[in-house]
Amino acid sequence: MSRDVRVCVLRIEGTNCEEETARAFREVGASPEKVHLKQLLHQCPKDMARDLSSYDILALPGGFSAGDYVRAGAIFAARLRSALSKELEEFVRSGRPVIGICNGFQILVELGLLPSLEGVMSVQPEAALYVNDSARFECIPTLLKHENEGSCLFTRTLPKGKVVMFPCAHAEGKLMLPQEREPALLKRLEDRGQVVFRYVDPQGRYAGYPWSPNGSISSIAGVCNPAGNVLGLMPHPERVFHRYTHPDWTRSALDPSGDGDGRAIFQSSVEHVRSQR
């Protein structure tokens, strides 16, 4: 029997997708634990203290950490950076999978772990997830085309070009790169295989609003670092772990209790960890 795949589902006040994120990892056979940041900082009773290095996967779930009253994800990122940046950088360098979904993606960008244009973790954010073009919170289904060539640890079981449905629910999801260097940086992301998902319409064409709910550069919905072990994406794969939470499952002949499109993300990363042992 192989050792458990231990997943740290990290949260603070206002993180609110930790239940379903932990459940998704549990259902693919991993051992997730919901961990408060203060537990990693040992600001808690002794028996509750945890160390980041003891986990195999780090997941930053969605939500409104600390209320997102500043830029989305900025406060959680600042707390992580001030207390834990060395451990985080070490975790990423060791090649262990890190995923940020929605608010988690915003945190990874604020932390400088994504898009990782220069080095593993930049001192300043290199990109931004800006207010949606519609200026609205958008809770809608979105279609994503898988664009990664195989470097991303979270999408290895998805063929390139496959279109999946993960729903969105955010107000700040428009990926922006520094304007003056935008074309060059976008090309670098593409050249290094960092674009993982793009929003498409039902015909499979790269999409504008509303199929891209935010107006993101080049319709990008998710990116990974060059090594492929850090993934950030705005849509929520954990919300479509089963077919019966797809919005149109009653129209489909597929078994409603069968796999949803999101399962692949959790499955791939856990399989990767197992394969490394």
Binding site: E13, G67, F137
Partner: protein, 778 residues
């Protein structure tokens, strides 16, 4: 804030604000002046009862004591005008699955689990400050469910506004409906999305009679292990009282007394401070911490601080445990220095809960709250005597018998009921020659048109358990849904179907039938997705109960709800009454909102409203009658009189039973209930979601004028898509009246009844239905 009546109020020589009030010698005029000046909102008879209580004790009350009574005896807290009618028609509904009736009702879900449900209003605060009023409404209803030991899993928000393009004269001080709707929706969005509880159902209703009287109803459903359902009570002496959550401040003072009076032009100026300030990022961890200490078995009781704040929660928790309490007001964590003891005692500051726990568990409880950085403070303890005593800076500022304080007065006020419109000859309106244009007009009516503008603002999928969403149909097309379904447990396919029912127009014409309508609509919505109606919670929004015709509407609506619920065997373990939704320009439409919850045995068999397959048959289930009064057609085109639709519970019950059986056997591909706009609108909506046409022929229906067949709003009816190869089995099992009215196919909706009545492209239906709210709200 207080303008001392110098001769009656004497300030005590203590280092804080405390007044002794000489009501013993006061005459009626002075008593009323005191009631007004102190913001107590009590009547002269009530003031006299207080006078007698203190005369017997031969002492003057403090301002803290009078304020506390003002809260406890408000209409909002003690239901003094409504209790009699609720007892006559609702409280007696018994059901074996009711596990608890506390701040929320608790019902059995399966052998190990329970669900909690409650709906209430936050009307007055939202009329003054729509964003904050609606947000704190959500906050309050979430605490009601939480304090039963349940994890909140769904929010439901029925909202009622004046017309968005209202150009008439608003009552003095009232805000424009469009502004109110924008603020209320944003408040629900920002609070609900942040605490991570999906907002999954609700609705928006528009009518001129809500201009100046907007209604914001907020509902919440929760799930708990049966073994962890907790009482809103102390267990006994030895328990301490632990106040957890937000700090206490001057926000939300006199919220309940404000809610128990009519709004007027000075309401904003006088009562802005009655609107609380919400903080979802205090609430979110508060939920985690409260559920954790409960599931660890560390607490004996839990109750939320809502209307009346500490003054209500301490007394009610203690008395429910047959005890009393002593509280040290110095211990209460404050937002600012310098609050008078009465302010601390009645403040309705948000995000607070009270825990009762044995002293030995205090350390472990505080540790849990500490991890989440949520304040938790022991502020008092339970005593045997059924009395509450408060001290502040070592001075006793309050001592009252709980029996007197919490019992409150109860009235049997006069009622008067208007004649139903059936006695008025029906005047059918002049309709356009092309009924297609009448249908398009109804689809664009804001009461019927798509609410996608709102739905997309709310996260309806957080927690990952929303199996049937609020909007149904082909990806990206988003037709309407009837009920939303949540799958609350990881290891079970059992689900909860959640839906709202209310028809204020029916209620205004015939309150009894309006009450019936609310229950029928909630039930048929639940049946539509494959649920079996199980329980109801009602939010009854009416005008001033001191006016006999307003209270008459209330009495009849309650009777209507109670009769149908009793006939169907539904539980009604919680509810809320909101009176005084009235301004100088008149009362709101009488609005009896029902939130219904149904059990879905297997969510994999749920059904949505969108048409699915060319060639399938369409059946109409239920009887259509000439019941046009209050219908969307009559409202749009100016019809008068006639019958308000009535409910025949036995027929409703039979139809739902057969539908459920057919869904269980997967004989139903789509199902939609008939409500506003009747058959024509329901058909159009099924086409919109499914992006499919229909050829319908209504000549098989009972003999009625074509316009009645199309637009009557008779209850207990559904449209059902039946797979072509299953029609025989369907016909065998559908023992309720049903009639084949057409076939799915093409890109047009064509409806004939000897002549062609409607002939229109689905695309055009979609445009008419989808765009109106986007156009007005931007």
């Amino acid at each position: 804030m207080i303008m001392p009546l110098d001769h009656l109020m004497s300030r005590r020589p203590v280092p804080f604000e405390l007044f002794d009030i000489d009501i013993l010698s006061a005459g009626d005029a002075e008593l009323m002046e005191l009631s007004t000046k102190l913001g107590l909102n009590l009547s002269v008879d009530e003031m006299r009862m207080i006078q007698r209580y203190f005369a017997q004790r031969m002492r003057r009350p403090t301002d803290v004591e009078l304020q506390s009574i003002g809260q406890a005896w408000s209409e909002h807290c003690c239901y003094k005008s409504s209790k009699k009618f609720l007892r006559d028609h609702i409280f007696g509904l018994s059901h074996p699955d009711v596990l608890a009736k506390g701040d929320a009702g608790v019902m059995a879900f399966d052998k190990d689990h329970a669900y909690a449900l409650r709906i209430e209003s936050h009307n007055h605060p939202s009329a003054i400050e729509p964003y904050g009023g609606a947000a704190t409404g959500i906050g309050g209803i979430v605490r009601d469910v939480l304090c039963m030991g349940a994890q909140p899993i769904a929010l439901v928000d029925p909202l009622f506004f004046g017309p968005l393009d209202f150009a008439g004269e608003l009552p003095a001080g009232a805000k424009h409906p469009k502004y109110l709707m924008g603020g209320v929706v944003a408040g629900i969005r920002d609070y609900g999305n942040r605490i991570g509880i999906p907002t999954i159902a609700g609705g928006i209703w528009f009518d001129e009679r809500y201009a100046g009287n907007c209604l914001v109803n907020v509902g919440c459903i929760g799930i708990a292990k049966r073994s962890e359902v907790v009482r809103n009570a102390v267990r006994g002496t030895g328990d301490v009282l632990i106040l957890v959550g937000g700090r206490t401040g001057r926000d939300g003072i006199h919220g309940v007394t404000f809610a128990s009076a009519e709004l007027h032009e000075k309401s904003e100026e006088e009562s802005r401070g009655a609107v609380q300030l919400g903080d979802p990022i205090m609430k979110e961890p508060l939920i985690h911490a409260c559920l954790e200490v409960n599931s660890k078995g560390l607490i004996h009781g839990m109750k939320d601080l809502g209307g009346g704040g500490l003054s209500c929660v301490v007394g009610e928790m203690a008395l429910s445990g047959d005890c009393g309490a002593v509280v040290d007001l110095d211990k209460v964590p404050l937002k600012e220095e310098g609050l008078a003891p009465w302010e601390i005692w009645v403040s309705e500051s948000q995000e607070r809960m009270m825990l009762a726990a044995p002293e030995r568990n205090v350390r472990r409880i505080l540790d849990v709250f500490e991890l989440w950085d949520v304040p938790a403070t022991v502020i008092g303890k339970v005593i045997k005597e059924q009395v509450v005593r408060l001290s502040f800076h070592g001075v006793q500022v309050f001592e009252m018998d709980l029996d007197f304080l919490t019992k409150g007065p109860e009235y049997c006020r006069p009622t008067c009921v208007q004649e139903p419109p059936a006695l008025i000859q029906e005047e059918f309106p002049q309709l356009p020659r092309e009924l297609t244009s009448a249908l398009l007009r109804l689809l664009s009516d804001h009461n019927i048109a798509s609410k996608e503008w709102v739905v997309r603002y709310y996260d309806h999928e957080v927690r990952g358990n929303t199996v049937i969403k609020p909007l149904h149909g082909k990806l990206g097309l988003r037709g309407p849904g009837d009920a939303t379904v949540i799958k609350p447990l990881d290891d079970s396919f059992r689900g909860l179907a959640i839906a709202v029912g209310v028809n204020p127009w029916f209620t205004s014409l015939d309150a009894y039938r309006g009450g019936q309508a609310s229950v029928d609509e909630a039930c048929r919505n639940i049946a539509s997705v494959g649920g079996v109606p199980h329980s109801l919670t009602d939010c009854l929004n009416f005008g001033n109960p001191e006016k006999p015709e307003r209270l008459g509407e209330f009495r009849e609506a309650v009777r209507g709800i109670g009769d149908v619920a009793a006939a169907l065997g539904l539980a009604c373990p919680s509810g809320n009454v909101s009176f005084y939704n009235e301004t100088a320009k008149g009362a709101c439409l009488p609005t009896a909102t029902v939130l219904g919850v149904g059990i879905v045995n297997d969510i994999r068999k749920c059904v949505t409203t969108d048409l699915k397959q060319e060639g399938d048959a369409l059946y109409l289930v239920g009887d259509t009658r000439q019941e046009m009064a209050g219908s969307a057609l009559f409202r749009a085109f100016g019809g008068r009189g006639g019958d308000v639709p009535g409910v025949v519970p036995a027929a409703l019950s039979l139809s739902m039973g057969c539908l459920q059986e057919c869904m269980e056997r997967q004989l139903v591909r789509a199902c939609h209930d008939l409500s506003d706009g009747g058959l024509a609108v329901a058909l159009a909506e099924m086409c919109i979601g499914g992006d499919a046409g229909v050829n319908a022929d209504l000549s098989g229906m009972a003999k009625l004028p074509s316009a009645v067949k199309l637009f009557s709003e008779s209850h207990s009816r559904w449209l059902v898509e039946v797979p072509r190869d299953k029609e025989n089995e369907w016909l065998q099992r559908m023992r309720a009246p049903s009639c084949r009215i057409g076939t799915v196919g093409g890109e047009m909706l064509v409806i004939e009844d000897k002549d062609v009545l409607v002939d229109v492209e689905v695309k055009e239906l979609r445009r008419a239905w989808s765009e109106p709210l986007w156009k007005v709200m931007g």
